[in-house]
Amino acid sequence: MSNYYVYGVIRASDDLEFETDAVAGADRIYTVSHRRLAAVVSDIEETEPEQTDEDAQRHDDVLREIMEYGDGRTIVPMRFGMVFENERALKNVLRGARPAFRRTVNDIEGTVELGLKLVREEDADVDREAIEAAVADELEPLAVDSTESDLFSDRLVLNRSYLVESEDREAFDEAIARFEDVHDDLLVQYTGPFAPYSFVDVHIGAQ
């Protein structure tokens, strides 16, 4: 018997066909709907899939394909490894968490996540607070929301993710370029677009 690997939740629609490779070598990706929400799934044998680089990348590729589908779709991304044992359990969660999913779909509609890491040159002596302020001045007005991540290296000066409306993408690209032009002592790692992983703060448990 097969389990369901879930990539994310979208508004139900009947015209989706997927071309991206599925996690764990499944031969197709499809949707399981409950009313107006649908989970994007593929079949999987194990309930705790191994976290390989390849399968993590495939998970992300599937989300990307949905985001770029037609003139763009909205998906609430799941963390890697959300496997359901049967369709009833999956539909039950779609039903029980429906308000949270619908609210999240509405909140993130038309947005992407962009990542920014600023790394100082080896010998550079930089003013962290001034840089944080300069980045905030340039980027926060163009973002719907932003969130900070760990500074896991002492050369890492800033590590943030931004939720940006599609229509503000170009302005955001320009703001990054402006910032980079005047900060020669910083390496700018600008990444994305990603599904809004960092902005879907939803946790579903069972009592």
């Binding site: 990348q57 029980g96 308000p99």
Partner: protein, 94 residues
């Protein structure tokens, strides 16, 4: 045209940071057994997090829990969290 910097979409490390640590989490018990929806717990923060949107949301959730506990499933379907005005950035005061 103004100078632009394009984001790099090919970084595996950036993908792993997100796919493995972020995104919606569903506890295993809600995934491997058919839990009645009255037993599901749902914690969610709205994207544009202001104090009042969060409280409002929590309130809706508790209404839903109450409705489901009373077995009013059809009525529950009519409870629309998103019928109120969308939360807006100007309400996002700290």
């Amino acid at each position: 045209m103004a100078n632009q910097r394009r984001p790099d979409s090919s970084s595996l490390a950036e993908v792993l940071d997100r796919v493995l640590d972020k995104g919606v989490v569903i506890d295993v018990w809600a995934r491997i057994s058919v839990v009645g929806i009255e037993l599901l717990t749902i914690e969610a923060r709205v994207v544009v997090a202001s104090v009042d949107t969060f409280l409002h949301y929590a309130e809706e959730i508790s209404k839903i829990e109450q409705a489901s506990a009373e077995g009013d499933l059809e009525e529950l379907e009519e409870l629309k969290v998103e019928t109120r005005p969308e939360s807006s950035p100007q309400s996002a005061t700290e």
